[in-house]
Symmetry: C2
């Protein structure tokens, strides 16, 4: 039985005076590190919105274009995996964070931290993958930086990208725009990215390789907006998976999110791997999946737009927002018809997944 009081203050008890792996896992410990160390120091209104990207107008006045700005560092291992590489991730991940703010991605920066001894041939592959991913997403990598650290102080290559995008519509796409009655859609099956990575690490073999779902989402998001849908919120489902994504939105909006387990697709081979590895697919990272919050009456139209796009063929309506009895929480109607609270994990199931 979950203690709801504890859930509403999702910070583990106990003090930590050193950084733990779990501090990077997208769960409660990370929320606590952000809440106790970063947010108080960098206190400002934009950061407080806790969105995937910061959104600001360049100048005062309604005619000034709004920009989105975001960053992510990529420390994934292995560097190359079925369906992609750190190079694809470093572009798609940041492009997708811009897309989640409703922005059209324009420009990326990139910072490399190379470990002494890293094969230049691998670096060429990574850089080529970044080029290909940037091309596919329609963005340019326009500025960069390279640092080298001694052997034993890195792990081949760490990549940071930051991205700038432009918002070409009047929607305010953020957790605070979510309303009771909103329908929640997803663009496909979950948990493939994390399982693709873990299968390589654990040496699991399947009839056919499980490939990461890594993909750029900005074009699909652009279609939703171009169709005139009143998109209230978008969230890509990376670290912490579908669970962490919707929990953050429930917390930020103060509303209850109700998911329907039967509507959430997981491929059989992915589910099998989850069972072998002891993972709950709800918490496994994706790199090409996102949820869309729209008014209930637009749900079917949004579903049609998603399904008409290659990145949304497996789209489904997976739940709704209510002003229910559990404000700020996510509940799940299970296969058996019962309802349970979906809680944040304390740490993470999968270290260094992105």
């Amino acid at each position: 039985m979950t203690d709801l009081g504890d859930l509403q203050c999702p910070v583990p008890k106990g003090d930590y005076d050193r950084v733990l792996m779990a501090h990077g896992g997208g769960g409660r410990l990370m929320q606590r590190l952000l809440g106790e160390v970063f947010f108080p120091a960098f206190d400002n209104e934009l950061l407080e919105r806790r969105h995937d990207a910061a959104v600001f107008a360049l100048e005062r006045g309604l005619s000034s274009p709004r920009l989105a700005f975001t960053t992510d560092s990529y420390v994934i291992r292995p560097l190359f995996f079925p369906g992609g590489s750190i190079g694809h991730l470093a572009v798609d991940g940041t492009v997708n964070d811009l897309a989640m703010a409703g922005a059209r991605p324009l420009y990326l920066s990139t910072g490399f931290i190379l470990e002494e001894g890293f094969p230049v041939a691998d670096l060429r592959r990574v850089v080529q993958d970044m080029h290909d991913a940037a091309d596919a997403a329609g963005v340019s990598i326009v500025t960069g930086d390279t640092k080298v650290v001694e052997r034993g102080h890195g792990d081949g290559v760490y990549i940071n990208t930051a991205g700038v995008g432009i918002i070409e519509h009047d929607l305010v796409i953020e957790p605070a725009s979510v309303r009771p009655g909103d329908a929640i859609l997803i663009n496909g099956d979950i948990a493939r990215h994390g399982i693709a990575i873990m299968s390589v690490r654990e040496g699991l073999e399947f009839e056919s390789a499980i490939e990461s779902d890594c993909a750029p989402l900005a074009d699909l998001v652009g279609r939703l907006i171009a169709e005139g849908l009143a998109v209230h919120c978008l969230r890509d489902l990376t670290r912490g998976g579908l669970a962490a994504g919707v929990i953050e939105i429930a917390q930020a909006s103060g509303l209850q999110v109700e998911l329907r387990e039967t509507a959430i697709a997981v491929r059989d081979d992915v589910l099998g791997a989850c069972e072998i590895l002891g993972f709950d697919p709800l918490y496994v990272a994706n790199e090409g999946r996102f949820v869309t919050f729209v008014p209930a009456e637009q749900a079917e139209r949004a579903l049609a737009v998603l399904r008409a796009h290659p990145a949304g063929e497996g789209a489904a309506i997976i739940g709704q927002v209510t002003a229910g009895s559990h404000p700020g929480l996510v509940t799940m109607q299970t296969v058996t018809g019962t309802s349970r609270v979906v809680d944040l994990l304390s740490g993470e199931q999968l270290p260094r997944i992105c």
Copy 2:
């Protein structure tokens, strides 16, 4: 005797199939890595300008504001040093890159790569220093990311920042704007940052500690522009020091840069430390020093503007640009009156200086 033919193609002979520490040093090997691996893959007009920041208009048309966008990762050790910390550097370094494009810095992103076991108290100090530096520079840190890597795969904390600034004038400040006859000014003495770091690493003691010159430069650059000076180019003198900064501009502009050794200030204690450590101060990193290229007839006025600002009290005119017999090279009139070519180092004197 330097082989000029070799200088004009400043790439060391020999193949490297693994990354070396020197690839991060701001010298020839880094130029080669950029030229062979990064620039061809990320081929685009903005990157080709090889400026500290990429500059672009948001939309077509003269009325659209121009933005500057830049990034740097910071891997300095030790994390805390006389005159600053990785936190100050991570803000000032990126603010200064925006300033070198003539932009007013607006927003920063930050990505942390934390090593498992890093003391949270140190993280708090670093984050507080970033806050203080951002406050001093008038920028907001509006979006961020945190990753954790296993013990032995990092070095406490690596920080990336990216920055967005706005250009509020019509000058085109970049190497291609440099003209024969331009005067070259610097805003103070050189080599203090690098020596401050190396003194800590090597356990050198002086009568008074040598403090890093780490400082934000955007306000001072704003004054130069507000005074109506025709600023042609700006360059901060970080990795590779004054030498690397002016060599890059000479190469990019195809003009000859002539420096006067007697005009370049180095503090006695810094010079003493350079002699002990075997460093040439021309190549030692600064974090609060930059060169300004203006038409010769504006040199004295620019000097007065620099000297009137706390960040430019030690300013001096240190050379000029000519259409001389050594296009693309930097020459130095030495104390003894002879002239020598100032060449890029192959690698670096000082690893992990920023």
